[in-house]
Structure formats: C-alpha cells, structure tokens
Symmetry: C2
Subunit: 521 residues, 2 copies
C-alpha cells in the first residue's frame, strides 16, 4: 500500500476532484458553454487518473487511514488523556455529581434546529437503512436536555465525558477534529439565583489550578447585560447573533477592525457601533476598576441603568460575585462586558476561562506560545429542556472543558519539559537469568498478581536477560525480579531497581512483605 | 407528547407498516393479483392512519425516545457499570496493559468482508454527505487490527472498553442492544506458543472470581482440533461455519436435535453426524476423565491421531494446561471438544467462560435463574492484521467480556439482595438549621472541598433543615454538618451521622482534623 503521496496529499487530491465534480454539475445545470464543461471534465479526469496511477483507487485496494478529521489515540495519548480526565472526574465527584451516558446518535428530529443554520450543516447523518432517521450527537448539552425531558428528571447534577461529531473543516495540527471529546458538568433544577453558577465557577477554578497550566482568567458576563447594551444602541433581535460574533473577536483583534465589521457586515450605524464600543470595552478602557466598580460605573450610564434587562443582569452578577467570595474562588474571576459566546441558547450568566499568555517557556514549532486562548466555558440555559417537553421547565447551567485543547497543551508541556509519559502501571517485571525457568517465572508473577502487584513477564520461553532489562528501562518499570538457578537453590530472588541498577537478594518467603512495604500495597 | 400507545407499541406498529410496504413492493414486482395488492395497501393505510390519529407523525411533532435498540444509562446504571469496569481495568492494568481509542466509525472498506455475509448486513452506514464512505464499528477487534497494521505496531498488550454498533433485532429485556459496550483485552506480537493464551485465561479467571458471580467454567478448545474432527468425518471447508454453528448449540440443546440439524440442514450423512457426535461429545460421554485424560483418550482414536492438525491442537492445549497450572489458574478450566464459537478468524486456542447454573437465589420476573450462559470468550487470531498489511505478520490472541450481560446479572443481583446503589461519592452534606446562613454554608463547604472532602450543599438560599436531612438519607450521604446560629457563636458546628442519627458538636478549628480522621483522608 505504498504511495508516492502522503495521506494528506491524497485527501487534498480527492477534495479537489470532488469540488471539480460539484462545479461541473453546476455548470451543466446552468447550461453553461459546452467547451468550458468539456475542459473542466478533462481536468478532473486527469486528477482522477493520477489517483488511479498511484494504485490507490483500484478495486480491492484502499488507503489504510482513519476517517477524515479523526485520529487514533495511542497508548501515550491515552495516558495523557486519562491523567487530565481524572482531575476533572475527581473534581466533579468531589462536588457530588453523578454521571450518565446517552446514545452516540439521536433521532434526527432531536438535533434538528438546535444549533442554528451553520451548526445544522455540520451534523453527521446516518444512512437510511430502513427505520428511523438518525444523526450523530453534535454536543452533550442537547442530549442532556433530551434525557431530562424524556425521563422527567426535574433536578440533577451530572457530568458527561464523551466524544461528539462535527463535519467541520479539520485543522488537526491545532487540535480541531471532526470527532472530539467534550467534558461537561451541568446543574439542572429550580434553585435560588446564582448559587449553581457559583459552584460552576468554583469547579472551573479548582480544575484549572490543579492542572497547573499557569495564570488563567475566568471572564464573566450576562446575557441580559448584552441584551440591554444591544437594545440601547438600537440593534434588534435578529442582529443578536451576528453582533455577538463580532464582539467576541475583541480578545483577538483590535477594536477598529471589529468596529468596521459591525458597520459593514452587521449593519450597525457608525454611531451605534461607537456606542457599543464604549460599552463592551468598558473594562479595557478603565483598567483600574475592579469587578464591582465596573458594574457600578456602567450603571452610571443613564440609558443602561434605565434598561430593565441590563439592570437585572448587573444585579445577578453582583450576587454571583459575593458567592464567589464565600466559596473562596480565587481572584481569577473578571467581569468582562465584551464576552459574548456564540450560542443562542444562553439566558443568564456566561463565563469563559482563558490562559491569556500561554504556558511559560512552552513554544510550538513556529516559536509561538502554546495554550493561548479559551480552555473552558459555559453559562445558564433555561429554555433548552422546554424545547423537548413544553410543559416542563427545568432551568440549567453548566460548563464544558475544551478537552482536546487541554490535551494539546499538556502534550506540548510534556515535550518541552521532556517528561516521560508512562503508558502502563507495571511495578515489577519478572525476568529470568538462564534458560528453562519459565515455570518459575510464571509461578512468581502469578503470586505477585494475587498480592495485587502490577507485574509483567515477557512471553518468551527463554528470553535473554539483557532484552528483559532493556524492556524494563524503556517502559519505565521501576523494579525487576530476576529468577536464577543458583538463587532458586538458595531460596532467594534478585531484586533490581531499574533507575539505580542496584541489585539485592530477597528471600522468597519474605518477597510478599518486602514488596508490600516497597510498593505501599 | 402524550399517546395512548407505549413507545415499544409504536415501534412495533412502525415495523409492521414497513414490513407491509416491503411485501406490497414485492407483490407489485412479481405482478401479483391486483385485488390482493389493493387489500394489502388498505391494511397498511389503516395502520398508518392509526399513527396519524395518535398525533405522532404530524409535522413538527415527534416521539421523545432513544433510537431503536439503544438506551440511556442513568446514574444508577452508570454506577453499576463503573464498578464492573473498574474490576476489569484494574485487572488489565495489573497485567501491564495499555489502552487505546479508535474512531467510532471507520472507512467502510476497513470493515468490508470481515464479519461474513450475516454480520455485514448488520453494519450501520453513515450517509454519504460528500467525502469518504464511513460505517460504525461493529466490534473492537477489527479496528485494533487496523490500528496495528496502520501504525506498524509489531507488539502490544492493550485493552479497549467502548461501544460498538449492530443493526440486529434488539431484545432489550435480555440485554441485547444495537449499541452496546465491549471490553476487550488482546496480546499482539510474535511470542512463544501458548504463553499469551495462558495470561488471557489467567485474566478471565481473576475477573470472574473478583466479580463473585458464583461458580463458573472456562471451556477450552482449539481450532485445529475442530478442523481435524471435521476432516476425519469428511466435512469440507465450506461447511466449517455452518457445522460449527450447530455444534455450538450443544450446551443448550440435546444431541438428537443437533444431529438432526447436522443431517437435514448442514448436509452431513447420518454416519458422519454420528461420528462427529462421538468426538464433540467426548467429554460429556466420559464425565470421569480430567482435562489431560480427555485429550489423551481422544488421541487413542486412530483417525484423529493420524490427523496432523488435530495432533498439533492437542499438543498446544496440553502445553497451555501446564502453563495454567504454573499461573495458578483455578481448576475452572475445562477442555470441551464441542466449543466451536462462530467466528471465522480464530486460528488457534479458543475459550469461553460460562456460568452454568446461574446466580444462586437470583431469579428473573418469570422465575428463571439469572446469568446462565456465556459471559466472556476469545481465542487466537493470527491472520487478521495481515488482511490490512499483507506483508506484516502480527499474531494476536485476546478475550472479550460480555459486559452488557454482566451488567444485567449484577443489576439483578443487586435487586435480589436489595443492595442500595450509590450514584455519587458525597461524604458530607453541609446543611443549615436556620435562615440567612448561606454565606456560612458556602464558606464551610468551600473549606471541605479544599481539604479533599466530597461535599455538597443544597442550592437554596434558605432550605428547610428537614428537606436537607431527607436529601442526605435518600442519597445515602453518610454525614451532615449542620450550621446553626447558636453553634456559630460558640465556634462549633453539629456533625450528624445519617445512619444512626447521632449528633455531636465539633469545634470549627478542629473540623479539618476530625474529618480527616473520620474519612481517612
């Protein structure tokens, strides 16, 4: 299955052929000039021939690869993934959360109309093989809402870690895949204002400080404050999403560029855009103000103060800030009127955690700092469950960690710090020094397993000692028990410490207690 | 979304309509009598009307359900599932295994032709949305082989726990789903004969004894022994699979019935069938023989002894039995010449764990014992990786636990023993006795989290004490810390043990050490 082209080149070639095919169909439909169509067809066939010459598309042959935008997680990637997810599940469990699992696909109607026009296009559909029409889940939030509505659950604190599917253009070098993990925590139920939100921020703070990825900021805003600001400048509801999308770029682009986009593409008047700038940049323009002062001074602007939505949003955020203090959430929380987040379904507080400067000392291949940007986000969405069960009102708020991004950051950090990643938990390798000791090795490794020791032996009947010691060193197995003829006669076994290469004899009848002490069993 | 019919009734109705539609199409194609076709169409329309009258199929309405053959795993099911999987992952890790994850779908060509004609029909395909043709994984073994071939991995000991997809007829009451978990452990690599198999049997034995589901038997046979027996009776290769399928029924059906099937459906002569019976029932007909004696006495049959494949199979199984002894695998292992297992790709030893009598004292709703039957199986498959990389030879053997079945058994056991299943790990509920103590509760629960205590508080500003205590009792939270005005003045907090309802005061500045001792933090 050798080929002169790399997998990604082959993929690009196929994409080109597909595009050309689409173009030709359009030309035919629009009854374009026949000569032009002929030319395009010839170009496409030439590309197809290229594929054929490479022996790739011949019947019975295929390129051995993962589907576009997906990847295998090898043992090393899984070890990193498990260490990150353990921090999250431990934290969720510490906060009393339960977990659920839902099917990887849903009835197509369940997902329909939940992700806007853009999102809807990215949903993977299953083929109609006679039966129901199904689609792959696009996130974990809509299935959670469907679960609550279907099972008539009125209150639940749950986490859910699983993969979701989006037919997006993958950028795998930057950790953007078509199949990727999400890690969600949500609190569903009718409770008093801002208490569940406070616990969400607390969890964000705990996870990020435990992950130890350097300085982070938790930005905080409120949907009603955004609604109020937009109302004051005269933007209507239909503009909400597009204006949000522009405002949300403020953490990456200068105001001038955002302002231009607001006027030229979003249809705001220059006055309205300028006004909006003075609101959403309030924090940026008043860098000395603290969280409460930002809110208080924005309330000094008469039109904002007069807007009922804005006022309610401010009051809720102020309440949330007092709860953060009681919970001892670090001073990472920062009120940020420009935080917009794309999703339509948020109804209350919204938040997003960012690592503003990236990891200290960790650069990618192009010398850019690694880890800059958003690593988690969430907010309140009170209307989603009602879309499935109109009579049920189950208010929810939650948060989602950008797991793939966190994996990428930690993998880069490990690489920069040359941290060796262990892919197994083996504590002892049982080796032999001479031939014909297989039965003895087996008996000893069987004892070790029965004592709870994580142990391995090589699957050769008569392995060379050097190969066994090398295996222990490569796999970072801390200890090797060496079975030898002479030692067996003396009723001992040799215990070797891999790192120091020190060896000492241990009596076979003291092996259990020695290992128990050494490995803290 | 109320309806007079249950979801399963609706599903049945839809299935009937679909079947009627298929029938009508066939009648039309075969140019059947027009009156008959009209009658059938009328019957189908009546059923369709029934659906319509129920308001189910009106545009914009849909039944809130999971896709056919799938289910949600609620918190309780997940708690059981996690406890079972933990036993397995702990055992796999104790044996030094790594884990990997592969995409939930594969290129269609990867799965094509790997599951025989029957299996191929059950594969879920994704819709062609422009791009590659994809199908959902059908098991974890073929993706593992694809992974090894694609990444040129020559040796690996890995486990993989994930869901797979089969468009089978679901029987959800008996734990047969279209989306279900598999739990696989495999050893890939060129090693000495039967050593990896011995570790697979050791793992089977460890997991089943830890699960504590009563007496189990690990049946053991060899593909080459089956090949030899079939050759001696004159069955040819094309009959292998169908004859295996019949022989495999011997643990559920009497020989007479299997014999009839072999003659009438599989095309064996009465003589050949009788001869085969004397081979595959050798253990059953000689109940006093032990494992080695069964093999030795079968080798006394001249035609079997003269068959090179049979002889090699016997020698390998005898070697495996000596390794089992060295590993201290319990005497659960039982040579069973009738064990056939369906899968074509096995090339060596095959094994299957069964719980022959079901769980003691655990009956299902119909009074039948729960848990009878196969709970795990596996074997050697040396040719699979080569199907992806013809030049690579990566011999493999492994095992797969029937997780859904084990879940069902343990859920039935819990129900029979009235075992309460905890769905969270909360150790302490922080409650308040009066109003206006929210900030105090928050501060204390924040302290608890920082000490590593699994703690919760209700999300009400002023909850009633009784409701909070009830929450702790319902959720089996062992301790409640009650914050009260008077107690705060005295610098204490009340610690209540949920089970005994005992209460005692603890000084706030001794809270950390008290909890640390009590909860063994």
């Amino acid at each position: 299955m050798s080929a002169a082209l790399t997998d990604s080149q082959l993929e690009a070639l196929r994409d080109e052929i597909k595009q050309q095919g689409d173009e030709i169909r359009q030309l035919k439909e629009s009854k374009a000039d026949q000569a032009l169509i002929k030319e395009k067809v010839a170009a496409m066939l030439a590309k197809k021939k290229l594929l054929g010459e490479l022996g790739i598309e011949k019947p019975g042959k295929f390129v051995l690869k993962c589907p576009k935008g997906t990847r295998d997680y090898g043992a090393k990637a899984m070890a990193v993934r498990e260490s990150v997810l353990k921090i999250m599940t431990d934290t969720f469990k510490k906060h009393g959360a339960e977990t659920i699992e839902t099917p990887v696909f849903e009835l197509r109607d369940v997902l329909l109309g939940k992700y806007g026009e853009e999102g809807g296009k990215l949903v993977y559909d299953l083929q109609d093989q006679g039966g129901e029409l199904l689609s792959m889940r696009y996130d974990l939030t809509v299935p959670f809402a469907r679960y609550l509505a279907m099972n008539k659950v009125a209150a639940m604190k749950r986490y859910h870690i699983a993969r979701v599917y989006r037919r997006d253009q993958p950028v795998m070098t930057r950790g953007r895949y078509r199949e990727f993990y999400q890690c969600d925590f949500d609190i569903a139920g009718k409770y008093d204002s801002m208490i569940p939100e406070a616990e969400c921020l607390k969890i964000l703070d705990e996870v990020l400080s435990t992950l130890n990825l350097g300085q982070y900021v938790i930005k905080l805003n409120h949907r009603l404050m955004l609604d109020g600001m937009f109302a004051v400048i005269g933007a209507d509801d239909s503009q909400f999403k597009s204006v949000c999308a522009s405002v949300d770029k403020l953490d990456k682009e200068p105001w001038e560029k955002v302002e231009e986009e607001l006027i030229k593409e979003r249809g705001l008047s220059p006055d309205a855009a300028e006004r909006l700038g003075s609101f959403v940049r309030f924090r940026e323009l008043n860098p000395d103000l603290d969280n409460v002062a930002v809110l208080d001074q924005m309330m000094q602007i008469p039109e904002l103060a007069a807007n009922a939505k804005f006022k309610q949003g401010v009051e809720e955020i102020k309440l949330l800030l007092t709860y953060c203090e009681s919970f001892g959430v670090s001073n990472a929380v920062r009120v940020e009127p420009s935080l917009a987040r794309g999703l339509d379904y948020y109804t209350g507080a919204i938040y997003e955690a960012v690592i503003p400067n990236g990891l200290e000392g960790v650069k990618d291949e192009e010398g850019q700092p690694v880890g800059v940007g958003s690593v988690a986000g969430g907010g309140r969405y009170d209307g989603l469950v009602g879309m499935f069960a109109p009579k049920a009102s189950v208010p929810c708020c939650g948060l989602s960690f950008g797991i793939e991004r966190l994996f990428a950051i930690i993998e880069a950090k490990n690489a920069a710090e040359q941290t060796a990643v262990r892919t197994s938990t083996t504590q002892v390798l049982v080796a032999s020094a001479q031939k014909n000791l297989l039965a003895h090795r087996m008996r000893i490794v069987g004892d070790l397993w029965s004592w709870g020791v994580h142990a391995e032996m090589t699957y050769k009947a008569n392995p060379k000692l050097l190969n066994q010691l090398q295996y222990a060193e490569e796999r970072l197995i801390p200890f090797v028990l060496i079975v030898g003829e002479q030692e067996l006669k003396e009723g001992v076994v040799k215990l070797r410490t891999t790192e120091t290469r020190e060896e000492k004899n241990v009596k076979l009848d003291e092996l259990k207690s020695t290992l128990a002490q050494m490995l803290a069993l």
